[in-house]
């Protein structure tokens, strides 16, 4: 173990950046799983799909962040279609929808992965931009710009979604559908359309998260497997459906991984992060920010 206060400070700093990246890749799931109770295990696969679409747009000269923003609209529509299909074939049919839905989304993830392999092969794909591969020098510290980008995107997404869910009619309806669907129906709103809209938002956000994915590192079709545990851990730790909670949970995981890596070794980092999740759930089963 090599310890110094400089290293500890750097560990916290990089933990914050890593944590924001975790939040950015989890926030879509926070909407689909946290608010809508949809067992969306295909969320990381959709992000990887978004990353490949970013790669494709990059071939036409699009900056990865711009590509991610451009992709949000088609992914929003894709999300609405996926939810409608899921609703008609699974959710509408009763109490076993959750378990069968899980099979549906596992199937979707598998189809996306195989589709990407057929289309792009198994090699890693990269994007290029001025902020990838360079860093910001602050005295002795050098901070990779790509992590700063993830940091910025996580903040923007968290603030935008929090404001949207609390200040707009549709946003409040999305929160209402999560809390009391029959009551929403009595208010004259159609819960299915609200959920469809929300799932579209979650998928649109995943497109931008996919752009973050390929900015932070190279992608390959099976990359979703790396993120499935972490994204669900962040959402559950946060307390289902809390956007600020997702950011906070991402930060907790990122900082704890970074400090544990410095003090005890990288092998312990995932174990401690998930251990933390178990402890928090033992004390607060509803998660840190859940009600």
């Amino acid at each position: 173990m090599f310890f110094s206060f400089d290293l500890l400070f750097e560990a916290v700093l990089f933990g914050v950046l890593l944590g924001c990246f975790y939040a950015a890749v989890s926030i879509g799931l926070s909407v689909s799983f946290g608010l809508l109770d949809v067992p969306h295990v295909a969320h990381p696969a959709i992000m990887v799909f978004g990353a490949y679409c970013t790669y494709l747009l990059g071939l036409y000269g699009f900056d990865p962040i711009v590509a991610g923003i451009v992709l949000m609209a088609p992914f929003f529509l894709l999300g609405m279609l996926v939810y409608r299909f899921y609703y008609e074939t699974f959710e509408r049919r009763g109490s076993e929808a959750g378990v069968r839905g899980l099979a549906f989304f596992f199937g979707l993830a598998f189809i996306i992965e195989v589709g990407l392999i057929l289309a792009f092969g198994v090699d890693q794909r990269f994007v290029e931009a001025d902020y990838i591969g360079s860093s910001l020098s602050l005295g002795d510290y050098r901070i990779p710009y790509r992590m700063l980008v993830a940091f910025g995107v996580a903040l923007v997404l968290t603030i935008s979604l929090t404001l949207y869910l609390s200040k707009t009619f549709t946003g409040r309806a999305i929160k209402a559908v999560a809390q009391d669907e029959p009551a929403l129906r009595l208010m004259g709103a159609n819960p299915v359309r609200i959920k469809q809209w929300a799932f579209g938002i979650a998928t649109g956000v995943s497109a931008l998260a996919g752009a973050m994915l390929i900015i932070v590192g190279p992608v390959e079709p099976s990359l979703d497997r790396v993120y499935i545990g972490r994204t669900f851990a962040v959402v559950v730790l946060a307390g289902l459906g809390s956007m600020t909670g997702t950011l906070a949970a991402g930060l907790i995981l990122g900082i704890s991984e970074s400090i544990v890596l410095m003090l005890f070794g990288a092998s312990w980092a995932p174990a401690v992060a998930f251990g933390l999740l178990l402890i928090v759930l033992g004390i607060r089963p509803q998660g840190l920010f859940g009600r």
């Binding site: 090599f2 092969g121 198994v122 992590m147 932070v216």
Partner: protein
């Protein structure tokens, strides 16, 4: 008893079929070669290129009339870079597909779970770029195609180059996987023998997303050489983090055992970020083996169609060599009996496109030829540049040396 004309005809047809059948069965029954090899997942890029090379050997040998008068048929399954799939795949190959010969999956981690099975069943297994998987199992019918032997054959060149330039300290960064850990253990022993003090050591899990923290810690430890043992995804992330964070002016050599920096798509994507890194390789342009250049020219055409590694320096020639070794052994023994083939492979020199190979008692190369080469003058976005021997200067072993290592690392990066 008088036989009718119809009965005579039936007897005659029966006799003809009886006489011809064994011959036609023998002609129709191919020699089946089975392999489970990564086509997806982290080893998929290498696995696809390797499989293409084995397919090329099958085509070549069949064009020459096959082996023992029988065609050769390759049966392959994708192991998804997941060692858990291996026992099932190889059980199917043996018990359902009825293969005659086995080739191991690409890589150490997927091969390890196969070793007990082949030892128990007494089967010949042609190894495929794994590292020390037979070290403990001691199966006497194992023959690895990789140009290394024990850890010293792999790390020695790197550590010697460091020592030559006055290195006193070492940092070790290794993936938490069997291959990397085996190599790291060997590197630790070698470093100790060489009197190098280990100032930083980190094992990281394969799911690590960002390596900035580790590279910072390496920089803070101020080592003279940094020995890295990583898998393809990690290697890319580590090179990027080094480019962003820097490893400090103390570092003379960086690299050693990074898997992935031999794969063309990764080399092309990392471009100039590779400069200065000294890393192991199996073959780089400029090394003269009889037939390897002709093979690579043919491979390049097929690789474009198959959308796999277009240069194919690292794995394909050595996978083609597996086929050549099987071919030589089968022709010499006139048999596909595993014991006879293993006996032949153990006692004779194999003539392949990656040079002559002799095996030691563990089924590893008796005369290992791991190359340590330094990336130099690499530019961005250019695949073809890697055909130029000047882009990967061989610093070890002496018989293939094409230049001296440039130190320190920061200077070599320019």
């Amino acid at each position: 008893m008088k036989l009718s004309r119809r009965s005579w005809l039936s007897v005659a047809i029966g006799l003809v079929i009886g006489a011809v059948a064994p011959v036609s069965v023998a002609q129709q029954n191919p020699i089946k070669v089975g392999i489970g090899i990564a086509q997806t997942g982290t080893l998929g890029g290498g696995g696809k290129a390797a499989l293409l090379a084995i397919q090329m050997w099958v085509e070549d040998v069949n064009q020459k009339g096959g082996l023992l008068g029988r065609k050769v048929e390759l049966i392959s399954y994708d192991d998804q870079s997941n060692p858990a799939t291996i026992p099932g795949i190889y059980t199917k190959l043996l018990d359902v597909d009825g293969v005659d010969l086995l080739i191991a999956p690409y890589g150490t981690v997927p091969t390890a779970p196969l070793m007990p099975m082949v030892k128990q069943r007494g089967l010949l297994l042609m190894g495929n770029f794994s590292f020390q998987v037979n070290h403990k199992v001691q199966h006497d019918m194992w023959f690895n195609n990789a140009p290394w032997n024990d850890a010293s054959s792999w790390s020695d060149g790197f550590i010697r180059a460091g020592q030559k330039h006055g290195a006193k300290t070492i940092a070790i960064l290794a993936a938490d996987q069997e291959f990397a850990q085996n190599l790291a253990n060997g590197a630790r022993v070698l470093a100790k023998k060489a009197g190098l003090k280990t100032v930083y050591e980190q094992n990281y899990p394969p799911t690590t997303v960002d390596f900035s923290s580790m590279i910072r810690a390496v920089r803070a430890a101020k080592p003279d050489i940094v020995f890295v043992m990583s898998y393809p995804n990690d290697s890319v992330a580590i090179v990027r983090a080094v480019n962003e964070i820097g490893v400090g002016s103390s570092v003379k050599l960086f690299g050693g055992g990074m898997v992935g920096l031999q794969f063309t798509p990764i080399m092309a994507s990392l471009g100039s970020s590779l400069n200065g890194i000294v890393n192991y390789n199996s073959y780089v342009p400029g090394i003269k083996y009889p037939g390897v250049e002709e093979f690579l020219q043919r491979y390049a055409k097929k690789a474009v169609e198959a959308k796999v590694d277009p240069l194919g320096f690292y794995l394909p020639p050595f996978n083609y060599a597996i086929g050549q070794m099987l071919e030589q052994a089968i022709k010499a023994t006139n048999s596909i009996d595993h014991k006879k083939l293993a006996d032949y492979l153990r006692k004779n020199e194999m003539k392949t496109i990656v040079g002559p190979i002799r095996y030691d008692k563990n089924g590893e190369w008796a005369n290992p030829r791991v190359v340590q080469a330094q990336f130099r003058g690499v530019v961005d976005k250019n695949v073809e540049q890697f055909r130029d021997p000047k882009k990967q200067v061989v610093i070890y072993p002496d018989q293939y040396k094409t230049g001296e290592v440039v130190v320190p690392f920061e200077k070599a990066r320019k």
